[in-house]
């Protein structure tokens, strides 16, 4: 069964450093998402991406964040200068998007720890 994959599973970085989180969505899916979950809190939407551009973003997704689909398979989230409060689990999701609404499939997440 196809699944969303994410690398790395755990990333530790120093405050102020840039990090890139990587995701490989399910191959025939058209919509891609990033969410984050700060420890003990709910899952929060960051950004959605369709047709090589951002379709929605939340207030969390400020200028320190960017997303890219550098090739036909990867979808990345870059945090330009990490802050302590960026420590969270980051989930990538994808959905098919053709026709009627359909569900999002989530990857296993990348745990980001900012020291």
């Amino acid at each position: 069964e196809p699944e969303v994959t994410q690398t790395p599973s755990h990333q530790v970085t120093q405050m102020g450093q840039e990090v890139i989180l990587r995701c490989v969505p399910i191959s025939n899916h058209l919509y891609f998402y990033w969410y984050r979950q700060i420890l003990g809190q709910k899952v929060e939407f960051l950004v959605s991406f369709y047709n090589n551009e951002i379709s929605e973003k939340s207030e969390i997704f400020d200028d320190q964040f960017s997303v890219e689909r550098p090739d036909g398979s990867n979808f990345t989230l870059k945090i330009r200068s990490t802050k302590l409060e960026d420590s969270a689990m980051y989930f990538c999701a994808s959905r098919k998007g053709q026709g009627s609404y359909n569900e999002q499939f989530f990857g296993p997440g990348t745990r980001l720890t900012v020291l």
């Binding site: 709910k42 899952v43 959605s48 369709y50 009627s100 609404y101 499939f105 990857g107 997440g109």
Partner: protein, 114 residues
Amino acid sequence: AQSVTQPDIHITVSEGASLELRCNYSYGATPYLFWYVQSPGQGLQLLLKYFSGDTLVQGIKGFEAEFKRSQSSFNLRKPSVHWSDAAEYFCAVGVIQAGTALIFGKGTTLSVSS
């Protein structure tokens, strides 16, 4: 603005007992509704979804949920809980537009006692 409320932060049930996790949503039209489960250290797995039609939906692992428009609720149920069901459960709402994000509730942690 859309929102999802899961009133129970933590629930403990005995193995073999029935379970109901509550979820209420706030949205002006009929939403798309989901329940996801997250085991410790794991990602989010879709349990079931409601898009339209029959208001009682069946999911994986023996779970079911009932959409009640009059109560703006989408409660998750299981007739007999197994120890492996211990996890965090999230209710989520999707808006009827292509590409729109899911809005999650804060989650309910389920503990199963023997």
